[in-house]
Amino acid sequence: MPIKKLEGIDTEKGLAQYNGDETVYFNMLRTYMLSLRAMANAIETFNENEIEGYRVKVHGIRGASGHIFATQISESAAALENAAMEGDTAFIKQNHAPFINSAYALVQSIEEIFASIPQIAKPEKDKPDSALLEKLIDACNGFKMEDVENAMVEIEKFSYTNDGGLAAILRENVDMVNYREIVELLEKGE
């Protein structure tokens, strides 16, 4: 199984956390990858004048990475967080770039894992049903997390030949909990 070969994450422990349920674990990995990429993007360049914002971001990376057993990234983030708390900008300047590079490398490794998974053939449709999109809008407007996920799972039961990548964009925004953006995107498209 490709998931067992993911460098930088203890996938055995991660899987065990979800009772060996690979579907759930894959979902968690996907959201972690998106969050890690977003957080790394946010602090790609270290700005000495925004050290508190930097501390909060590396703190976020530390927590999310620890939870998914990406121990090395988590520990590097903890060291940078401590340095930020102590105002040790020399340490940050020395270690920031390698840290960001390793974060992006991990993102890429996870992306490669997902790319290597054979796609299950799904029934085809032209575009997602408008009733399902309405359901997704309602769930997003009510910030009902489980309803949002359920609506998205319904949408993903089909592959779409003419949606302009909409289903993929929606999935990414669902995973990033960008509910306002989803509503804006879908209402704009109506």
Partner: protein, 260 residues
């Protein structure tokens, strides 16, 4: 009816993960920042708010402050979530009115237990107060004042206190300064000799609220001094404040290894 939990965290992965962990039991409403949190609160009053301490722009502490300053939200219990935040931040949070805190690394059962404790306060065990006074009528009025919030144990013979402490573990002591055969202050070292009572709050009461009495009590390590005759509301308010602080600190000590 399922309980509603509003979870505020700037990291979307954390929001998704927590939903995965809690969705069997609760409806989770996610907010990535305080603006979204207040937007959700306009239409949905949750039973509890889980709040990340470390967030960009507005920290969990400032969000808590705004919540507690808003009448229609002030009653909602707020539990801080941290991956091992600083003790000073947690203490500040408690002083601002946080109900509790949890570590994100806790097992699901422990997180659930903590949430349920604040969703159903009636399930919480009442703290135990040991009140010592040679006058039974005072003890009766203490018991009456505290009966809804605490389990009061009373003792008219202070010399039996040590035996009693081998059976019960009070969360707070309320002691008369002047009793016929013993000075209440003399009980302090005897209480502190029990390792579990190294930090347990001790409050004194006396009809002689003189400078000397109050000063002696506070110098010897008492937390507070209450003047007789006892005003039930004042007694309740002071004891609740001391207990809240002490029980929170006790919880912090339990998880000290996880905290910076």
């Amino acid at each position: 009816m399922r309980k509603k939990i509003l979870y505020v965290d700037d990291v979307s992965h954390n929001l998704i993960t927590m939903n995965m962990r809690l969705k069997k039991h609760f409806d989770i409403f996610p907010a990535k920042n305080s603006e979204t949190m207040f937007e959700i609160l306009e239409t949905t009053i949750p039973d509890l708010i889980l709040l990340d301490i470390n967030m960009p722009k507005s920290s969990g502490l400032s969000v808590l402050e705004r919540l507690k300053a808003t009448d229609k939200y002030a009653h909602i219990p707020v539990v801080f979530l941290t991956i091992g935040g600083s003790k000073s931040n947690l203490l500040r949070g408690m002083n601002l009115g946080a109900a509790d805190y949890m570590l994100k690394s806790w097992r699901d059962e422990k997180i659930l237990e903590c949430i349920n404790l604040h969703l159903e306060p009636e399930r919480q065990e009442k703290p135990i107060i040991l009140a010592i006074d040679d006058d039974p009528s005072i003890l009766k009025s203490v018991n009456f004042a505290l009966k809804d919030r605490c389990e009061t144990r009373t003792l008219t013979e202070p010399e039996k206190m040590q035996d009693l402490l081998s059976i019960i573990t009070p969360d707070l002591f309320l002691i008369d300064c002047h009793m016929p055969d013993i000075n209440g202050f003399d009980l302090i070292p005897k209480i502190r000799a029990f390792p579990q009572h190294e930090h347990t709050p001790i409050l004194f009461f006396s009809s002689a609220g003189t400078y000397d009495n109050v000063s002696a009590a506070l110098t010897l390590g008492a937390e507070d001094f209450i003047r007789k005759p006892i005003d039930p509301d004042i007694l309740r308010a002071r004891i609740e404040a001391k207990l809240k602080h002490y029980l929170f600190i006790r919880r912090l000590r339990t998880y000290e290894k996880d905290i910076i």
